[in-house]
């Protein structure tokens, strides 16, 4: 099971890297174009901005799965049971926010279904969809990830 999860999140990571690559290629094209080609590339910047939102929101579940999110670690309990309890509480609180984000992001996307992004010729829903999708995937990441409860005590053993 763990292996499947690792693979699933590695795949998500690969998708995010692919988005990043497309972003880089488009910005590169924009620079080359300005100095050499001179084509009217008005759409690159908008596509790139849209992809950035996708990249960040699909990247967040990967960050959470890897336990790499930025937080303030003021304390950890030495008691293993308390520490697990604290981590579960943190996960639940984070999940509540992600659920808000996913739900209201979904409604926001629905409202935008009918409106077009004139310069790109696509529905504005494409711009907002990652908020909801990212929220949901982050909830999954919080549920299935495995935090290292013993990290602190390991360090103490070394010193």
């Amino acid at each position: 099971m763990r292996r499947y999860l690792d693979n699933a999140f590695a795949t998500l990571g690969a998708i995010v890297v692919a988005i990043f690559s497309v972003i880089m290629a488009l910005i590169f094209l924009q620079v080359i174009n300005r100095f050499i080609l001179g084509l009217p590339l008005f759409w690159t910047e908008e596509v790139v901005r849209m992809l950035l939102v996708w990249m960040v929101l699909l990247g967040t579940p990967v960050v959470v799965y890897k336990c790499d999110e930025i937080k303030v670690e003021l304390f950890r309990f030495n008691n293993r049971r308390f520490e697990i309890g604290r981590q579960i509480l943190v996960a639940i609180l984070s999940i509540i926010f992600c659920a808000f984000l996913a739900y209201w992001g979904y409604l926001f996307t629905l409202r935008a279904l009918g409106t077009m992004q004139p310069s790109l010729g696509i529905s504005r829903a494409w711009l907002y969809a990652p908020i909801s999708i990212g929220g949901m995937l982050t909830i999954i990441a919080f549920v299935v990830r495995r935090e290292d409860v013993n990290e602190q005590s390991d360090e103490e053993d070394l010193t």
Partner: protein, 427 residues
């Protein structure tokens, strides 16, 4: 009232270890639910509009470029060059460490990247030569704060994206303060050399210096490409990022260190790091929106102006508050939290916004060096395998010197604004 509740909630959530992004988001959503008046659709709307920004793309690009250059072996070359330049000065490798941080700042935009790359090489070398490891850690961490002061700088990209200030001008304004802080830290190492346990090296000949310079030169070219490219109007900061990435890839190919697998690994790391930073920006948007709606910046400004009408004292109070915030919250998150509050206040008191932003960034970085949550010191301790508590004593003189440096920068705006003015960035 609503705002007070939001801050209490945020502090409690942060205290039990909820990730900063979700702690900010959840406290904002909770008070909106209690308040009732506003539909929560504002959450995704604010979230989206704070991320929908072209300049922010510079963040993954600068991180990626720095990773590529570092892996290509540039850090080794920089250390060699710094050693031949300042290794013979009293304080030996301590001086080398600081100069390396200065040069490394030109390819990296964050303090933790500096500690990992420079500390990873310098701390073991310093320990081997008999330096006290806690001093090695502190020198590394203190000089690493130059990373986000000397361009390129992730903090300045975020600052510019949030306020609309020119990122190119911010970059220029950071150069002289960064060099100035480096200089006074080198003076401190010179003075404390005996306590640090620093042996001296022989002076390196001119020919050898030239040789190592050639190897380190690619690192010196990168900030020139970025700052020069932006300033001359050739590229935007984001486009300068892609040029830096192309340059980093080219460098890695020439030094034959880069392969597809490693390139993917660094791209992945850059994306993960950037996502963990940018998600905070998205979640913080609603938080800042509520503060603006409740008139917090205006209230702070009027409270300050009823207490004093001396801008110099206001600036001092702001800096003290920033150091305090920086002590507990990681620098980028602290910046995202504080900028929307402080910008209107600074405008009321008529501060120059470019000068003010450099002061804000340095103050937050000073806070990040201060316990209890001195992340970059902790990172250095991990590399050196030193007890965190042992670094407290050597940290004191460095902190004192940096505070004096910051006071100079605060009250002599010429240090920040001189170079941009000279180069005509304000025209």
């Amino acid at each position: 009232m609503i705002v007070a509740l939001m801050f209490v909630l945020f502090t409690v959530l942060l205290g039990i270890g909820v990730p900063i992004a979700f702690a900010m988001g959840l406290s904002a959503v909770t008070v909106l639910l209690i308040d009732g008046g506003v539909p929560l659709l504002v959450l995704p709307q604010r979230f989206f509009s704070s991320l929908d920004s072209f300049p922010l793309l510079a963040i993954p690009l600068y991180i990626f470029a720095g990773n590529l250059m570092n892996y290509g072996g540039i850090t080794t070359a920089i250390v060699g060059f710094s050693r031949s330049l300042v290794g013979h000065i009293r304080g030996g490798l301590g001086q080398v460490n600081i100069l390396t941080s200065v040069l490394f700042s030109g390819i990296s935009g964050s303090a933790s990247a500096d500690v990992a790359a420079v500390g990873g090489m310098m701390i073991p070398a310093m320990k081997k030569e008999g330096y006290k490891p806690e001093w090695a850690v502190v020198i590394t961490a203190a000089s690493a704060i130059l990373g986000p002061i000397i361009p390129p700088s992730l903090l300045m990209v975020i600052y510019g994206a949030m306020t609309g200030l020119s990122i190119g001008t911010l970059f220029l304004a950071g150069i002289v303060p960064g060099l100035f802080l480096a200089f006074i830290m080198m003076a401190l190492v010179y003075w404390k050399a005996d306590e640090i346990g620093a042996p001296r090296h022989l002076k390196v000949g001119l020919r050898k210096t030239g040789k190592v310079f050639l190897r380190a030169a690619p690192a010196l070219v990168m900030p020139v490409i970025i700052v020069g490219g932006i300033q001359s109007g050739l590229f935007t900061p984001t486009e300068a990022g892609i040029v830096a990435v192309a340059y980093g890839l080219g460098y890695g190919l020439i030094t034959h260190r880069l392969n597809v697998r490693n390139t993917y690994r660094f791209a992945f790391q850059s994306v993960v790091t950037s996502s963990s930073i940018l998600i905070i920006l998205g979640s913080a948007a609603l938080f800042s929106w509520i503060m603006a709606r409740e008139g917090v910046p205006a209230a702070i400004a009027s409270a300050l102006s009823s207490a004093t009408n001396e801008p110099a004292i206001v600036l001092l109070l702001i800096v003290l508050a920033l150091i305090l915030v920086g002590m507990f919250i990681e620098t980028i998150s602290a910046l995202i939290l504080m900028v929307p509050i402080l910008t209107p206040v600074a405008q009321v008191f008529g501060f120059d916004m470019i000068h003010f932003s450099v002061v804000v960034i340095i103050a937050l970085l000073l806070g990040s060096l201060t316990p209890p949550v001195a992340l970059i010191v902790l990172l250095g301790c991990k590399i050196a395998k030193v007890d965190y508590m042992k670094t407290m004593r050597p940290l004191v003189p460095f902190f004192a010197v940096l505070v004096i440096g910051l006071l100079c920068i605060m009250y002599f705006p010429l240090i920040t604004l001189g170079l941009p003015e000279l180069l005509g960035a304000f025209d």
